[in-house]
């Protein structure tokens, strides 16, 4: 489900089934050299998380991408967002990002880090097949987490 009024209405009714939150983390690097890769990575991450939402619509609530500046204190961001998420009934929280610095942050467990693939020059069907390959790497992480006895 997406973080929209309509889907959240449904989420509120079906909380026992929708037990997983997905938070995309997007780094904004607006320096002259970083602008393009940053935009491309953001596009990649949003395509991927949308595809993920389509596959797991009934169990996952996809949050809007959380954007932060390059020098942001990632530990603080992670602490704040998990504090906010603790008010909800989610049993599993995943952070999806292309920013390698998150791998060292202990406040955010379950970080799925993927290297960004620039997709802007691909044609539609090739892009889709690339994104589905990427998705296939992510799906087992979710299935493994869900099959864990809680």
């Amino acid at each position: 489900m997406h973080f929209t009024g309509k889907d959240v209405d449904q989420y509120v009714q079906q909380q026992e089934y929708v037990d997983t939150a997905v938070v995309p983390l997007v780094q904004l690097d607006l320096s002259a050299g970083g602008l393009k890769p940053s935009a491309s990575a953001s596009d990649y991450l949003q395509s991927l998380t949308n595809l993920l939402e389509k596959q797991f619509k009934g169990r996952v609530l996809l949050f809007p991408p959380l954007s932060y500046s390059k020098m942001a204190d990632r530990a603080r961001i992670a602490g704040e967002i998990s504090g906010e998420l603790s008010k909800t009934a989610f049993k599993h929280v995943f952070y999806v990002t292309t920013d390698p610095e998150w791998r060292a942050i202990e406040e955010a467990p379950n970080v799925i880090w993927l290297p960004a693939i620039p997709t802007e020059n691909m044609d539609q069907s090739f892009k889709l097949s690339v994104m589905e390959d990427q998705l296939r790497q992510v799906l087992p992480v979710f299935l493994k987490e869900w099959s864990k006895p809680s």
Binding site: Q10, Y17, K54, Q55, K57, G58, S125, L128
Partner: protein, 167 residues
Amino acid sequence: MSNNRVSRRQFLGYTLTGVGGFMAAGMLMPMVRFAVDPILQQHDAGDFILTDTAVADLSEEPVRVDFAYEQVDAWYTSEVTSSAWVYKEGDKLVALSPVCKHLGCTVNWAADPEHPTQFFCPCHAGRYEKNGQNVAGTPPLGPLDEFEVEERDGFVALGAVKANTIV
């Protein structure tokens, strides 16, 4: 000669009838045209989306057929990619929607090793028979939806989604 003369009264009568008739026709014609418009509406085949899967390649085993169409949502036009599970039942084509009837996840054919001849939803372990019938005891409450499907020049063409008719 004088017998054929049109009297003033007659002349006025003809004129008024003529003009009144034009005015009435002017009002009635658009109304009639509006009323019959739905019948004259052309239903062209554009409702079907041609996919690039050849009918000859299909078997009784469901395969995933992807297709794309444009969707306009207010001011935002996007290309939506979607898919269907298509197989042959005798000579007939069957196309099932991959959207789980429970909460809308995407179901996959034979994704669960324990049930290789069923559709499986990874979210809450919902299962469906090959014809889309939901397996009792799993979360889904209804059978998978069906696509209108037809063969066009040897390729699969998919139409609107409708409630399952083969269960």
